[in-house]
Structure formats: structure tokens, C-alpha cells
Amino acid sequence: MFLINCPWCGERDEEEFSYGGEAHITRPTDPDSLSDEEWADYLFMRKNTKGVYLERWNHAHGCRRWFNMQRNTATHEIGGVYKIGETPPK
């Protein structure tokens, strides 16, 4: 359990948020040209990193907006929050 600093609403309890999984998975620009392996990679394969992870969150019980967050999955330490389209913190 942790506090998440929503870029629009400020610090709120994690329970107000829903999880969107790994961030920065780019939607295929030319779906028709994708092989089955590439589709499998896009749809199913995940880094699932133990350590610093970039992920998507949604403030479901607040402003209902999506944003990205850098979090350490081994410690729950949050490295920063950034809006969709912005570059992740170093």
C-alpha cells in the first residue's frame, strides 16, 4: 500500500487507482503486416521487471485520467509520476 501523486489531483491512497500494467508498449502502426510472433509479443509478453518498472495507472476513483509512474517493484519505492506522452524520469 502506498500513496500515489496523481499529476492532476496530488497525493492519494493507492486504493483510488487502478493499474494499467507495463507502460510504453507501442500499438502496432501497421497491424496487417505483423507476424503471429509479433502479435504475441505485443499482446502478451511483458518485462515484469523485478526492480525499477515503468507502468500505467488510472485515477479511477478520482479524476479518471491515465498517467505513467516509475516504481520499484521490489520495494514499492516510487521514482516519479509523469503524464502520458512525457519522457520517464531518469
Binding site: 493507492e14 503471429d36 511483458r46 518485462k47 515484469n48 517493484t73 521490489a74
Partner: protein, 417 residues
């Protein structure tokens, strides 16, 4: 040769004030090379080692465990065993496992305390009832025992359940698998460890694998905190860290790891003699031999490797459980904990070869790996020994994510993920 556990060995050792028991397994230093290295000394890894030795005659095997055997998810689950799965592929795999469980104490000469006390899955609304009826029929078509109960049957079986009309979660019926039940989870790990050790398998504890060595796409061994160990074949059976270890060999998996929580109450007199599960509220409840109510909850919905319990899940769980079984509201919780479950998109496991020659993976059992332990080890040993899957685990290969032949068992998993 290990001496056999029996009433006579118990009496003989009682005479000697129990000072004469030999150790159940050795703690050898790792050799420089093995035919097969199994990464992960949980139930599945130890079972794999045992069946490699017993069914396939491969005894030059090491099980490498970073902590102590059975100290991961094997010791953290709620010990439930059942095989009431919807699809044919799952039914065959899980029922193979249950059948192995039924004779496991005799086979391993180790009491795993299997108690086939019956597993109930409750229906709380009309949709649940229809879905459960469909499952019962599908399960029976696969030759697995399953039956429908109505509210009165359920009430008779579990008098402490709130079956009143105005209940928060009304009980409209339930499915029952009588062969389902519970077993002692540590006992399963210890039994397999002792039996595998007796057949020559080296169990190496407190030794962490830090890298997987490869040469031109073939596995050649592992790097560990105790140095390099060579191997012809390496098998990953590290529930909770499957992606992490597979990444050491550059293998990407369709797995996400979440914390799953469970808890036990203070012990009380016997009030529940079966397992009660409710998919709708993510509760699965049984009473241990010591009298504690053992309760499993849902997962935290974010990737985590922390094994930390979070209060929100405990609170939701208790709110639901005390509505189902009101007398539990006056009990205190003694312990709560979390294990990390590796979940696949289709809620079915991966027991498979990998793109790396000589590297095998068994993981992604999600929230229900304990019940699969013997079957998992049995088919995985076959996969490693023959370098091809057994027909029971062929559908559970990594290829299914490319072909699209997924085995959707979200409904049977009992915990949404």
C-alpha cells in the same frame, strides 16, 4: 538406502528418546557438473527431480534453491487441492495431479496429510448458478467427480454459512468435488525432497542462481552464489520469479507477478469440515487441524515482488468472509502474509520448452499451483528427459500465445487476475 518410516521405526526411535533419526535429506556441496539442474526447490521443482529419477532414471540432478526448500509459495498457499477445471486440457492435467496426490503418502513414505474433505464452490446469484451447472457438467464429461447442491444441501453441509434469504451473499447452490480437499503443504515438499534425495538427487539450499550460461543458443550451466555449475539441461521452476530467472537467458514470458494474500485466525473448535470457496467474493476458507480458519484473499492488482501484506485486501476479504460466515466476525487474525503469484493471460500454467535449447520452464501457475504439484513435476520431468512435452502438458506450451490456442481458466482459478 533410507530407513522406512513406519510404526516400528517410530517405536524403535521412541526407545532411544528420538535421538536416532537420520536426516531426511543430505546438504551436499554442489558438484561441478550435472545432467539436469532444477532452479527452485519448491514443491514443483522437487517433484520434477523426484520423477526425473524415478520415471526416467536420471539421477545426476541438482535442485538449487536460493532460500530453503518449500519456503516460497509452497509454504504460503492455502493448501487446497481440487481438479474441477472447465476445459479438457486443464481437467486432464489437474486430475493427473489429484490422482498422484491420492497415493502420494504411500509412494513417498511420507505423510502429506491429504484430507479429501470436499470442496464447495458457492453460487450467489442466478448467473453463478448457471455457470456452476455448466462447469459441473463439463467436469463430469471429463470423468471427474462433481455434483450440484441446492441451498438446503449446502446448509446441511456447512451449518455456519449464512444461507438466509436476506444474506448479503445469498447462497443459491454450490458445486461440490468430494475428492477435493487439503494437504500439508510443507509435507509435500519434504516428502518429495526426501524421496528425491534417496534416489541420488542433490538438494542445494541457500544457493542463488545469478545467471544462466549459454553457448550458441544452448544451455551450458548456471552461475550461482556458490560458483559456476555446468549442466546439459536447466529447468526453471521459480514461482514468483519466473520472468526474472527466464530473463537471465533472454527469454520473454507472458507473465505478470502479483502478491496474493492469505491469513489464519486464532484456533477454535471444529466448525468447518470441508473447503468453502466463493469466486464472487474471492474467498476460500478451510479449517486447519489445529483449528485455525485458513482464508485466502484476492491479489493486489499491481506488479510486485515484495511478499508484503496490504491492509486494503485484508479488509475487503474480512468484510466478505464475515458476511458469508457471521460467526467468524468475533475471531482475531493471528497471521497474514503474501506470496508472489506469476499469472498468465489465460490463467493457465506454462510447462514448456523454450527458444533456448536445453532450457525448460515451468511456471505461471498463478493463484493455484499447489494442487498441481505432483502432476506438474510428473509432466515436466517427461518434458526434460525426452526433450518434448508429454501429451498432458503439450497444450501448455509457450507456443499457445503465438497460435492463439489459449486455455482460458479464469473462472476455475477462483481468484480474478
Amino acid at each position: 538406502m533410507k530407513s522406512k518410516y513406519s510404526i516400528f521405526s517410530l517405536m524403535r526411535n521412541a526407545m532411544g528418546y528420538h535421538q536416532g533419526w537420520e536426516q531426511a535429506w543430505r546438504s551436499p556441496e554442489p558438484k561441478s557438473e550435472y545432467d539436469v539442474i532444477i532452479i527452485g526447490g519448491g514443491g514443483h521443482g522437487l517433484a520434477t527431480a523426484y520423477y526425473l529419477a524415478k520415471e526416467h532414471g536420471i539421477t545426476n540432478v541438482a535442485v538449487i534453491e536460493k532460500g530453503w526448500i518449500g519456503g516460497g509459495n509452497t509454504g504460503r498457499n492455502t493448501t487446497i487441492i481440487r481438479s474441477n477445471y472447465l476445459w479438457d486440457e486443464s481437467a486432464r492435467l489437474y486430475d493427473k495431479s489429484l490422482k498422484l496426490y491420492e497415493s502420494l503418502s504411500q509412494e513417498l513414505n511420507f505423510n502429506i496429510m491429504l484430507s479429501q474433505r470436499g470442496v464447495l464452490n458457492l453460487a450467489h446469484n442466478l448467473h453463478d448458478l448457471r455457470e456452476i451447472s455448466r462447469r459441473v457438467n463439463a467436469i463430469r464429461l471429463n470423468g471427474i467427480d462433481s455434483e450440484m447442491l441446492n441451498t438446503a444441501d449446502v446448509k446441511a453441509m456447512v451449518p455456519i454459512l449464512d444461507c438466509s434469504k436476506n444474506a448479503r451473499y445469498p447462497v443459491l447452490g454450490a458445486s461440490l468435488q468430494k475428492r477435493g480437499g487439503v494437504a500439508r503443504h510443507d509435507g509435500v515438499a519434504w516428502g518429495y525432497a526426501r524421496a528425491a534425495d534417496a534416489r541420488g538427487v542433490d538438494i542445494i539450499q541457500k544457493c542463488e542462481v545469478t545467471g544462466i550460461l549459454r553457448d550458441a543458443g544452448n544451455v551450458t550451466g548456471v552461475e550461482t552464489t556458490h560458483g559456476t555449475i555446468k549442466a546439459k539441461k536447466v529447468a526453471i521452476v521459480t514461482a514468483g520469479h519466473t520472468s526474472h530467472v527466464a530473463a537471465m537467458a533472454g527469454v520473454r514470458l507472458p507473465i505478470e507477478s502479483f502478491p496474493l494474500q492469505a491469513m489464519v485466525s486464532e484456533p477454535i473448535k471444529p466448525v468447518l469440515d470441508c473447503v468453502v470457496m466463493s469466486g464472487a467474493v474471492h474467498a476460500y476458507i478451510s479449517q486447519s487441524d489445529r483449528g485455525e480458519m485458513v482464508m485466502g484473499a484476492g491479489i493486489d492488482h499491481f506488479v510486485s515482488y515484495t511478499q508484503k501484506s496490504t491492509l486494503a485486501v485484508v479488509e475487503q476479504q474480512m468484510a466478505a468472509v464475515t458476511k458469508l460466515i457471521p460467526i467468524l466476525s468475533r475471531l482475531r487474525l493471528m497471521r497474514q502474509w503474501a506470496g508472489i503469484v506469476d499469472t498468465c493471460p489465460d490463467a493457465s500454467p506454462i510447462v514448456s520448452k523454450t527458444p533456448v535449447e536445453g532450457l525448460y520452464v515451468n511456471g505461471g501457475w498463478g493463484t493455484g499451483g499447489f494442487k498441481g504439484t505432483p502432476g506438474s513435476g510428473w509432466v515436466f520431468a517427461h518434458t526434460i528427459a525426452q526433450d518434448r512435452p508429454h501429451e498432458l502438458n503439450a497444450p501448455f506450451g509457450l507456443e499457445r500465445f503465438t497460435t492463439g490456442a489459449l486455455i482460458d481458466e479464469h473462472g476455475a482459478a477462483a481468484v480474478a487476475h
